[in-house]
Point group: C2
Chain length 407, copies 2
């Protein structure tokens, strides 16, 4: 057991999720039990709050309010898009030393795990004893070593529920519908739209993920086939789809690209990709009623739609991170395994280098041969993650009345 | 009491809502109790199903499945955008005569109520005894004579919950956020975003409705003021906002307008307005992080988000329509009144001419003097309609830690 006395620091990085606060609260409540922990601090706005020395004292927060915040989506400690380099990490490290931080927990995706890796290396070089642990979080579900990531299940549930509604709506007033879903390099969240299917003719009829090159001609042929058959077509597409030359489809529309601090092209917060694809269908297939929605912030922050399983696991990875640090006195990244066939999870701590800065993609067995849909394997993988009490659509089964005038 | 023997026909028109099936099921279950009703038919795809003679026999549907469909969003009988003229109505009337339809219930908005008016007139001219009653439905909340319309409360709840999440998300990673909400002429649904506010600095900070002329310069000044104060700005805007010359803002962007069967410009199913406004802010205020989401189908069909009060009232207007026809032997449009100060409703039947083809707008006392927000009166009006168990966001209240290095 670690007898290292000092403070615990917890921070959140990157895009918010429905359940990221669960992990912070898991850290705070568990850490407050250990006598060697002199205080539990939260960094405001992630690593930015560390360099700016903006901390809140979570040992002076009530358990009730921590539980209330845990049940609230988005990053309660606020977040940042800063991606620290060595020099930035050195400044963070200096602040941590000044405050006698001995345990650092960073809840985030692959960029955040890389930050943990650098801070950890600097601590070792400085002979400063520090436990630095990465806690997984991402709606993209793209962290290596994990069966799935906290935050994905709830976002996937939102996407599935959205498509259940879209199926009903697009059936009532028929047309082509495109839903544009977050996912720069990994298609898991877009694929989750397939969980909306109940009736054999339910959509999404076509699912396009970044793991397969997007071909406009093939796309038009796909839509034409479905539309000819059903008189409607419902499509799920990842914001990050690219052509065979790896050019994002959105850059084909936008003259000027907007890039974020990480040098990534702006994909979210605009309806451009959906509108481009709509126009492609209108032009190429002469279908008039084509609509697109871009789910934007709603898929990761809509209050009142979350997976209970996801929330529980997000809590557990926070708790486990503290337990690994305190009882085992080790560093690394907490990962979720699925050791049982039906459903169950184990948590492990793996070396941070296995996760840091890497991206996991949809495995081939989750994508159909045509590259425009998902497999039964994906359904089996994804369904438990959506949690309990998923809503279900119902149709009338009343028989048709024999015609009198139009016999 | 009406002793007129014959069939009941129920149909749904226009855009689906979360609770429109409640009204159909209210009609079906209530009508099945009356011995003079020889069968209850449902028209498939609204008035289109009547001219095409596509009916399902709801007397051969189980009560359990009717209840399941009632709990499902969107139009279970499917819908149509057809807006019948005299000739179209004459064809409908002919089919109704052939099937001995003596009671016609049409669930829809102001266009649908106009259809009921025409059919009713033709029946009178032909000396064919028919009870034709309009049942209110619209997420736009724009039917005359009604305190509010079934379908609005659930859509309003979706918008409020969406903005609760958006507030949390935009606070975690600060920027300007624009949510584009349905509403061609009436701003009620956009205004409902204000119900998301809990903390004093919560958004939406600015709300723009079609009832007030949109001025781009004023808009930029509004955003600049909020952004300078909070470092972020959250905006709700109706898809139907127009400038002082009544030109829709969206047509200022789109060269070619798409018009639907009613001659209306296409406002939904595209992210164009949000992207236009985003670009206006980027250009005019040099703010980099500007995002927009267009809520599209989600606000009227997202499964798993509805107001229990709205669902109950949607059921009641269906039931009441049948009761007015059977017990009082009269025609008209069912309307919802709010006779008590806190909350409670009464149902009345008013002459169809008071509702048909007319549009109700937000009253002045619901819009603030600056034309960029809503009043306390609107909050008091809208809150009960969202129903029970509304989620609530929570923030950390932990105290800041004194700085050591940056003193």
């Amino acid at each position: 057991m670690s007898r290292l006395e000092g403070k615990v620091l917890v921070a959140q990085g990157g895009g918010p999720t429905h359940v990221i606060n669960q992990s912070v609260v898991g850290v705070a409540l568990e850490a407050r039990k250990f006598t060697q922990v002199t205080a539990v601090y939260g960094a405001v706005h992630g690593v930015r709050g560390i360099v700016d020395e903006n901390f809140v004292d979570l040992t002076r927060e009530t358990t009730h309010n921590l539980e209330q915040v845990a049940d609230t989506p988005s990053s309660g400690l606020l977040s940042t898009r800063d991606k620290p380099d060595e020099e930035y990490c050195a400044r963070m490290f200096k602040v941590m030393q000044a405050h006698d931080i001995r345990y650092f927990f960073y809840v985030g995706g692959n960029d955040s795990s890389d930050t943990v890796r650098i801070v950890n290396e600097q601590a070792k070089e400085a002979n400063y004893e520090l436990r630095a642990i990465h806690i997984p979080k991402t709606i993209d579900n793209d962290l290596m070593e994990n069966d799935h990531c906290p935050g994905f299940g709830s976002a996937a549930r939102y996407v599935a529920q959205a498509f259940m509604g879209v199926n009903l709506d697009n059936r009532a007033l028929k047309g082509v519908y495109i839903g544009v879903i977050m996912g720069r390099h990994a298609g898991f969240l877009t694929a989750a739209s397939a969980l909306a299917r109940k009736y054999v003719d339910d959509g999404p009829h076509l699912v396009y993920v970044p793991e397969r090159a997007f071909d406009t001609e093939k796309f038009l042929a796909d839509v034409d086939r479905i539309y000819s058959k059903h008189g409607l077509c419902t499509i799920a597409v990842s914001e990050g789809i690219s052509d065979k030359d790896h050019t994002p489809m959105i850059t084909k529309l936008m003259g000027v690209e907007e890039r974020d601090a990480h040098g990534n092209v702006q994909l979210s917060g605009t309806g451009a990709l959906g509108d481009l694809l709509s126009q492609t269908i209108k032009d190429g297939l002469s279908i008039k009623r084509v609509r697109s929605d871009t789910y934007g912030y709603l898929q990761r922050a809509f209050i009142g739609c979350r997976s209970d399983r996801d929330a529980n696991e997000a809590r557990e990875v926070g708790e486990k991170a503290v337990q690994f640090a305190m009882w085992d006195n080790v560093d690394g990244s907490v990962v979720i395994r699925r050791p049982v066939l039906d459903y169950g999870v184990d948590y492990e701590l793996v070396p941070i280098s296995l996760v840091a800065g890497k991206t996991r993609h949809m495995p081939d067995e989750f994508i159909n041969a045509e590259g425009n849909g998902v497999t039964r394997d994906f359904h089996a993988y994804c369904r438990p993650l959506l949690g309990s009490g998923l809503p279900e659509p119902h149709r009338l089964r009343a028989p048709m009345v024999p015609k009198i005038l139009h016999k």
